[in-house]
Amino acid sequence: MNRLFQLSQQPPQWLSQSDPRLRVILALLLALVTVNLSGLAILGFLLISALSLALSAGIPFSHLLKRLLAFEGFMLLVLLFVPFSIAGDSILQLGPFAASEQGLERAITIVLRANTVVIGLLALLGTMEPEVLGHSLAKLKLPEKLVHLFLLTIRYIGVLYDEYQRLRQAMRARAFVAGSNRHSWRSFGWLIGMLLVRSLQRSQRILGAMKCRGFHGQFYLLDNQRWQNRDSIFLTVAVTLLAIPLTLDTLL
């Protein structure tokens, strides 16, 4: 179950010992800088840096690839369609549609930016426990309701997944094979309906359990996140490094 969320079992020391908030801030900064760059060479360089960051964060290359695969399909669509949707110097004519040089450049920019951001997020956020991420978001003063929604989702997504698996196995045990027919669609409808009913019942039981322990609308988080001098130094270095491509991009 845990493999659903966490990419790296053992992140290196420099990552695991830093304050998780540092990683959240760095991820945000990296994303902001990336979307503001437009030079292809600089973007390419940043992508390679993000990749090496991900590998040095202890993410096995095969895991990284698997995660990226789902996303690259979407990127392929961008590469295919964006060149045709921007006017400019034509480089390819397909019937009434023309691909432009400017469009191609834009498409490559989008692909480079998106990959950099996603790989950076995987490296910085994908390597921490989702519960820890929730705690740091709370400490960074994100709205409390969002944080608790996030934490409760993390807590129960596995429980619901197990419930789904049990129902699915019960179907399979009675020789159900999914096909494209009325019976299959109705069975899946029941499966989803059953999951919804059970989730609702569970949520009522959870609320009952909360009330039993005196819940009155207030959640509490206890954590051990401490911002240290080392984190400040790290942040300063990272900001300086990120400023370089940004200045280069405006100068060139």
């Binding site: 519960e131 129960y156 359990a209």
Partner: protein, 258 residues
């Protein structure tokens, strides 16, 4: 003699056209461990939920610690003193980490973060669970979850424990550990269970849900002797050389600690 901790008088519960139970009378005194037994769907779990006001009765009255409880606000103080252990621990453990879960109750009772942390840590230590404090709740095993759920209840220092099938789904080791723990607790308890071993070890009195109402039951055990043949499985080709060293195998050879 002091008044009963919990007293149910002529309590009924049901849905329109489908009564679950009616005219239930029950009292729980200090130091008692009451076993509540009965068939599936007879409303045993519901009865526990009625005591802490998670469901409301159709008729009858509930009084806890000498106070009549009718509506939600009457039940709130009761919930701090009556700890309910849920059948499914996943329902009970909803916080990210074990420590936060155990501290949730004390924090709701108005303790400061520091106090709640200390209470949580000492409760976990008392149950021998201190190494779990910083574990993520959804990664615990079934037995660990049940023990942590018990810790979350005990952290509120309840005077009464309501246990809904506490040994359900636990393996032999986890069950023994839980029973030993429960045995060491001073609280009065109501235990809903089908587990004869649990009832035998813990209960001081029993009531039975039967024919839609609650009747007093007599608990007794009688020693008995029996002989029977039993299945013995071994590798096929050893058949010829096979011999029992002892004339009669030990009872424990083919029975759990029944």
């Amino acid at each position: 003699m002091s008044p009963p901790l919990i007293e149910l008088t002529d309590l009924s519960f049901g849905y329109p056209n489908h009564p679950v139970f009616s005219q239930v009378n029950l009292h729980l005194n200090e130091g008692e461990r009451l076993a509540l037994v009965g068939g599936n769907g007879s409303g045993k779990s519901t009865l526990l939920q009625l005591i802490v006001g998670l469901q409301s009765a159709t008729e009858g009255s509930i009084s806890a610690f000498g106070q009549a409880c009718r509506e939600e606000k009457d039940f709130r103080p009761v919930r701090a003193k009556v700890g309910l252990l849920f059948q499914d621990s996943d329902d009970q453990l909803f916080c990210p980490s074990v420590l936060e879960d155990v501290a949730f109750g004390p924090l709701n009772l108005g303790k400061t973060e520091q106090q709640a942390r200390e209470i949580a840590e000492s409760t976990l230590q008392r149950l021998g669970l201190e190494q779990f404090a910083h574990r993520i709740t959804h990664k615990l095993s079934g037995g660990e979850k049940r023990l942590v759920a018990l810790a979350t209840v005990l952290a509120m220092e309840p005077q009464v424990l309501l246990l809904d099938e506490p040994t359900n789904g636990l393996d032999e080791d986890a069950e023994q550990r839980l029973i030993a723990l429960l045995e060491s607790l001073p609280q009065a308890m109501i235990l809903v269970s089908h587990d004869r071993r649990l009832i035998e070890r813990l209960a001081t009195r029993a009531v039975l849900m039967q024919n839609n109402t609650l009747v007093d039951a007599v608990m007794h055990s009688h020693p008995h002797q029996h002989t029977h043949s039993h299945l013995h499985i071994h590798v096929a080709k050893n058949e010829v050389a096979h011999q029992h060293d002892k004339g009669v195998p030990d009872h424990a050879d083919h029975h759990l600690q029944d």
